[in-house]
Every structure is written in C-alpha cells, then in structure tokens.
C-alpha cells in the first residue's frame, strides 16, 4: 500500500515537470535574494554599516521580511492552484479516476507533491540567501559575510516555522482548487482573503485567520498577546486538518468525477 502510494506520488511529481508551478518555485525562491544582492551592491555606503556586527542576521532578515509579509503567501496561493490546474488544463481528472487508485491516494499524493514543492522552495530560498550573501561579498569586499559562519540552525528554524505557518492556507487553497475547476476563482479568493488579512491584522482574533499566519509568526506583533505566533502555528495545523477533511470528502463523495 505504502509502496503504491510512493509510486503514485512519483507520478504526480512527474506531472509537474516543466510546468509553471516548478518554474515559480525556482524563480520565486531566487527573486528576493537577487533583489537584495542588487540593492546591497548598488548602495554599499548605506548597507555596509548596517551589517558590520552581525551581517548574516541582518541579511537573513532583509530576505525573510519581504517573504513573510507578502511573497510567501502569494507563492502558496499560486503554486497550489497551478498544481491542481495541471489536471483541469489537460482534462486529465477523468483518466486519473479510472486508474486503480483509492480516493485517499489520489487526494493525498497531490497534496504531498504541493508540499514537496513548497519545501523545495524553502530549501532553494535558503540556498539563494547564502549564495546571494557570498556573491555580494565577492563583488563588494566591504561586506563581511566571509568572516562569519552561516547560521544554518537559525535559518532552518525560521524556515520550519514559516513552513508550518503556511499549512492552513495550503489546505484551504487545495480544497478550493479541487472544488472549483476555474483557475481564476480560487486564485482570486486567496488574494482577496490575503488582502483582507492585512486590513484586519490588528484584530484581537487574528490568530484564527489563516492568511495572516506567516506574518504573525515572523514579525513582532505589538498590541497582540505575546503567544500570538505560537497560537498561529497551532491553529495553522488545526485548519489544515479541517480543510484536508473537507477536501477528502469532496473527492470521495462527489457523484461526478472528472
């Protein structure tokens, strides 16, 4: 059973080859570090003094701040829809459902592939952050990245927390993508909910609002309870469980498949 699930997940991964979802994962991970490299090389007088004592912490912060505030959520919404759309665009759902696979297998293997994409994006983002720092230092020697060790542990800790904070939205967008064959509607829904999140981010109940979890987990949240970030991570897991259940029921009980 497990072996068949692994084979099916491999098949789902192969479907993503040369797709917009894969390109988005690679280019999305490179985008922020690339902008920061340009920024720091072009304005050394401004940035070198800021990075004098602890260059890696500042550099990682520059990269993660933009990701946590905006790009990560955009990426999650887009990549989830793009992966689900591979079946709709190629009218392939009906073929998927005529293979001898259980509904649970079909549902979970695709979700696992989306998660693998997101994890790949996090790993690549980390690698591009490191590579970007070394590139900056090799071009502009006043930066002292080479004199300090890379804080791998801290980077992994941030990445892990941020990944967990996206679980809720991954599951919600996956459920919406399976339910609605149109590409634009789940995408628009995600973007609207994300925008609303920004408008209500000072709300005391914001810890129940999944689209703000990366923001709450990464940034300090003045005016909100001290354990907001912790609650956000916990709620992210709960929301994921709820929407995975909705999604599975959607796949297994709908009368018309494909």
């Amino acid at each position: 059973m497990t072996f068949i699930f692994i084979l099916n997940t491999q098949a789902e991964l192969l479907k993503c080859k040369n797709t917009a979802a894969t390109w988005l994962t690679v280019t999305g991970a490179a985008f922020i570090p690339a902008i920061n490299v340009i920024k720091c090389i072009s304005k050394p007088d401004y940035f070198v003094p800021k990075m004098e004592n602890d260059p890696w912490r500042v550099w990682i912060g520059y990269n993660w701040q933009i990701a946590a505030a905006f790009f990560l959520m955009m990426y999650i919404i887009l990549v989830t829809n793009l992966v689900v759309q591979i079946e709709y665009r190629n009218k392939a759902w009906k073929q998927v459902y005529t293979t001898p696979r259980s509904y649970g297998d079909i549902f979970l293997s695709k979700f696992l592939v989306i998660n693998l994409m997101v994890i790949s994006c996090f790993v690549l983002f980390g690698l591009f952050i490191i590579a970007g720092a070394y590139l900056t230092a090799s071009i502009q020697h006043r930066y002292t990245f080479l004199l300090h060790p890379v804080p791998i542990g801290e980077m992994m800790n941030i990445s892990l927390k941020m990944y967990c904070s996206t679980w809720a939205v991954l599951a919600i967008q996956y459920w919406a993508g399976l339910r609605i064959s149109n590409f634009i509607i789940p995408l628009g829904l995600g973007l609207v909910l994300f925008t609303i999140g920004f408008m209500i981010r000072q709300w005391e109940g914001i810890e129940y609002y999944p689209y703000m979890y990366p923001f709450l987990v990464y940034f300090e949240n003045p005016g909100l309870p001290a354990d907001t970030a912790h609650s956000a991570l916990l709620n992210s897991t709960l929301w994921m469980g709820i929407f995975l259940l909705f999604g599975f029921l959607q796949v297994s009980t709908t009368g018309e498949k494909g």
Partner: protein
C-alpha cells in the same frame, strides 16, 4: 451469447430529478467482442461509459464487470479495464514517453510495457516529442496506449475517431481490429456514426434518448437489414398514396417527385403496389432502395 464481460441491470441515471438521461438500460457485452455502442450526440453514450468506469455514481447493483459489482469492487475492476473517455487525457507539456511513465507508475507495471504499447500504437518515432506538438490522431493513439499500458482485458473507448481525418479514422479502426484479434481484448467502443465502426463491430447496441433500441450481434442487425426494406415510388398522386400507406408503413420522405416508404417486408412489396392500384393510384416507378446498416440505424433513432 458467450460469457458476458460487462452488464448493466436496469440502469437508470439522471443529473437532476427533472430530466432522466438513461432509462432501464440493460447492456450485455460479450467477452471477446467489439461491441459498438451507437447513438446520435446526446443519446447517453458517454454517460453510460462514465457510469461503467465509476466516474458517475450508479445504483449498487446496476453495473457488473468481470462478474463483480462495480460499486463494491471499483479498484479490482479498474485494474483490468483500460479507458479512453472523450478526448485523450494527456499532459501536453510532457513527452509521449513521460505521459506513459506517469500511468506506468500508477498501474505499477513493468518498464518494458512503455515500449510495447508505443510499438502497438506506432508512436515509437515520436515518444520523445512533447505531446503539444502531436496531431489529434497521435494524441488519440497515445490515449489508447495509456489505456493499454496495464494489459487490460476490457477496453472502453469513447468516440476514439472523433475529429480525425479519414486517414486517422482508418488507422484507429485498424488498430482496434488488431487489438481484438491479435491481443484478444474485449472492446466497447462508442460512436455516433455507424459507418465508422460497422466494418469492425461484432456486436451493436443502439441507444437513443437514453433508451436501448437494439442490442445484438452483427448477424442480428444484418437480419433486420434483410427483413426490412425501403421502397421508393413515383405515382400519379404521391400525397394521396402517402396518406393511404401511412397507416401500415412509415413514410420516410415525400415530395412531388418521389415517395419513400420504409420498414417494408420483402413479401409486402407486391401487396403494397396492388393496394395502390386498387385505390386508383397509378405507379410510374417502384424500386427497393439499397438498404445499408446506416439506414437501419437512422430509421431506429428517427422512428
């Protein structure tokens, strides 16, 4: 009739309570046959095939394949069934070989099957080409290759020649014939054009507005053909002749020049002409129209 590979038992289906799409359908598909499921567009062919594959939900006991009820044995049945429903479900951004690899993994079958099916459908030369560059005929053949990958006993092909040029239709027709004779596959193929499949089908099921109008072997359908004729007449008064004959026969076509009467038994032709003469209608010309399977099909669905 030999052993049945698939059966439906009083199969009814509707998407909404207001419009029933299938009415009491009892399909019997013999093992080893090329069963042609015929009907005009919207007759319920694709709906029936989707029900047979579990893409639509039917009543628990309505469908059995390989003597197992589909409702309870979906996965074990699908392991032995290959399908091509409507247009081929292929990933356009991948190559033909990569598409086959995806389904090879899903069916957990041997790597060598990819080359074997590429050989069967004659796509070996284009296996590394992205599918988006394939012609429609090549995509259809790739779809059939996917359906064949796990060496199923039963193939369900929904209008596999749809949209193809005459050359493509001939290629697919030959391939289907070969799959039946050389690889011993039972094939259920749907079409809205009898001319496309009459050369290869061993059995026919004719459906119209969700009801099965005919089901039987090729011989049984040909017997209908020999039993029933269409007669063309040219008389002194075609309108009056049509009224007189309309009680007993089906009037197929009438204008000032000709009157066509269908469903006429061979022995009834002399009676028909004598009857018109007795009613003072002169006959200039009377002839039996060449009656092919297409006529029978059209007659069935239009009556």
């Amino acid at each position: 009739m030999g052993h049945l590979i698939a059966q439906t038992h009083h199969l009814n289906f509707s998407f909404s309570s207001s419009k029933q799409l299938l009415h009491d359908l009892n399909l019997n598909i013999p093992q080893g046959s090329i069963y042609c499921f015929l009907g005009p567009n919207g007759a319920g062919k694709t709906t029936t095939l989707r029900l047979l594959l579990g893409l639509l939900k039917a009543d628990q006991n309505a469908i059995s394949i390989f003597d197992q009820q589909l409702f309870f044995n979906r996965m074990s049945i699908l392991r032995r069934v290959g399908a091509l429903i409507e247009e081929p479900s292929v990933y356009l951004h991948l190559t033909g070989r990569e598409n086959l690899k995806i389904y090879r993994l899903c069916y957990s079958c041997d790597k060598k099957r990819v080359d074997e099916v590429l050989e069967i459908v004659d796509l070996h030369h284009a296996d590394k080409q992205p599918v988006k560059t394939y012609s429609l005929g090549m995509k259809q053949r790739l779809g059939i290759a996917i359906a064949l990958l796990h060496d199923p006993e039963f193939l369900i092909l929904d209008e596999p020649t749809n949209g193809l040029d005459p050359q493509g239709i001939i290629e697919i027709r030959l391939l289907i014939k070969r799959l039946n004779t050389d690889f011993l596959k039972t094939i259920l193929i749907s079409s809205h054009l009898l001319s496309e499949v009459e050369k290869i089908a061993t059995h026919f099921g004719i459906i119209h507005k969700g009801r099965l109008l005919f089901q039987g072997s090729r011989e049984a359908l040909l017997k209908l053909k020999s039993d029933s004729h269409s007669v063309e007449l040219e008389t002194t008064n075609n309108e009056k002749a049509a009224v007189l004959l309309g009680d007993r026969f089906r009037i197929r076509k009438i204008n000032h020049a000709v009157l066509q009467v269908s469903s006429v038994g061979k022995e009834e032709i002399p009676t028909l002409s004598a009857f018109l003469v007795k009613k003072n209608i002169g006959i200039y010309r009377i002839g039996v129209l060449a009656n092919n399977l297409e006529d029978i099909f059209i007659e069935m669905v239009s009556s």
